[in-house]
Amino acid sequence: MADMIWLVPLIPLLSAIILMLGSAILPRLLIGLLGVGSVGLAALLTMLLGLEFLANPEPFQLSLWTWMQVGNFSPSIAFYFDGLTLVMMSVITGVGFLIHLFSTEFMEEDTSYARYFAYLNMFVAAMLVLVMADNLLLLYLGWEGVGVCSYLLVGFWYQDSANGQAARKAFVVTRIGDTAMALGLLLLFTELGTLDIQAMVGAANIEWQVGGTLPLIACLLLLGGAVGKSAQLPLHTWLPDAMAGPTPVSALIHAATMVTAGVYLIARTHGLFLLAPTAMMIVALVGLATLLMAAFTALMQTDIKRILAYSTISQIGYMFLALGVGAWTAGIFHLMTHAFFKALLFLGSGAIIHYLHHEHNIFKMGGLRTRMPVTFWSFMIGSAALAALPMTSGFFSKDQILLQAYQFSDIGPLLWFGGLLGALLTAIYSFRLVFVVFFGKANTEPEGDTGWRMAVPLITLCTLAMIGGYFIIPVADVFPVASGDHPAHWVEYVSISVPLLGVLLAYLIFQSRQLNVDRWVSSSVGQALRRFWLSGWGIDWLYDRAFVRPYYRISGLLKNEPIDAIYGLVVAINQTFNHWLVESQTGRMRWYVASMVLGLIVLLTLALQIPALQPTEGAS
């Protein structure tokens, strides 16, 4: 079984190729079967692999061929399989399969049905390569591959140039991070002589000191890549715009899998990060800053998908926080549960959008509780998990993160408090969404409720979001063991109660309206804050002024090739001389003769300066 591991990414890839080549001739049914079936098959294989692994938890490596060999640089196309890989693969293929199934209904009427599934399958293949890669270069292949697929899928409806704009933004912003990561790869290879993750970490632990400069730089460069891909500060701006893609795409790529690649990368290379405590601290702070920033922003959004997008950014912030404080297992655990409930939420919103004439504004929805019951319950469960209400999956993972953050040296309580504030906000904005969309009076009438192809994934994900917290992920051998002692009990109680408080607040403000905040909101400070948060803390605006516009301007200024002016100058000088000579060609014979004579005189005068030609006395 283990030898067949390469089939897992290959099947979706082949399916993608077939779909692309046959997009014009394949019938719709076959397209759907291929698209969903290939990922289903991959999921099945993953499950078998997982069962085998759980029976005999021994990590293994499979090398297919040497990718390139130049001197001592010889990365292979090789896969590595351990508990972490298994978790990631399960999430990708499992959630991926459900989302594919959901898509068959969601994209039913789209003309580019085959193209859609081709891209989506290609994405799954690339994402699998990313998590299965044995060396960083192959990981980088998957990393860029998912980037391109994300670009293609965000800009799937290419006729609208706003979508293209969003897609390009997504790609370019993440590319900035990727470039940092590529530099990190260069540094790691130059210093450690290999890119194979296990060997590299081993070499680093021998050659580098804890707290040295090189591990710090290397980790920061890797962090750059992670920050870009996982939409963390300061490279998070692409994710809200990436919601331009079809909603299942947002569920798969921009919630469940691709955006957590950064988390995976850091977790995978945790051996390096342990050598650079400063880098870990930075990871934690980035996570904290991001989760708060995004939570405040999510509170103000009116577009259902943007709310979810900012909440994704915020939740990944939690994962970064977890990684930063060394709670590796908790981070990955939250990654998994988040994949369940966020995919659920996105798919739910997809169902709403699909049956509500592509309406995105939550204030134009309302009262959907009775009209779309499946969706309503999905949202209820998803939001509960998101808000980390007790007994849901999100509760278990987030609770672990907060508790371990509290125990972190020095600034632990600060991190814990920040996380707690985020949790409060999370509860408020997620239940604001629920109350506004599903309660109250109906503003738009839906066309119906979900069909079975939508319902099955929703219900499955509901179940997972509920019980996912009881899973035990097999990563005990991968990560170092966290310290066993628990913080004081009050910390735990506070952590549990804060989300409940948030739900209560949301209920009072948005449902029963007993708590009137209009006066705050309409005050000038409130208005300014509202606008500030709505615009995502003005970061987009700042980048636009600081980078985008200057780039346009510089490019526009250079457009007509200033360097050419230098060569133009040479040409101009030539032409001036040419002009003069042309002018001298009067065509008058006497003028020519006179100038010849003048030349003769000059030459003769010059010749007479040569001593040998000078007349000498007495020559005869």
């Binding site: 000579l581 042309v582 060609q585 009067t586 065509g587 008058r588 014979m589 006497r590 003769v593 006179a594 004579v597």
Partner: protein
Amino acid sequence: MEGLNIPLNHILLVSSLLFSIGMLGLMIRRNIIFILMSLEVMLNSAALAFVAAGAHWGQPDGQVIFMLILTVAAAEVAVGLGLVLQVQRRFKTLDMDSANRMRG
């Protein structure tokens, strides 16, 4: 021919004068026939200098060069006068400035 002592530099002086006069003619005249004549004068003056120099050393070389100059002059005049005929036919004038087509 005893006591023959014409100073060489006087002859060369005459030659130079002839050359300058010929050149002056070349520059001021516009009629193509006069231009050719001026050329003859200049060639002739050069020939004179050669012969004088040959005589100075008592060698025949000066006269040989004179003969070569003579052939050049003859060929040049033959072709030049042929051109004069063509110019006259085409432009109905011998004025080189009116007949110019060489303006760049």
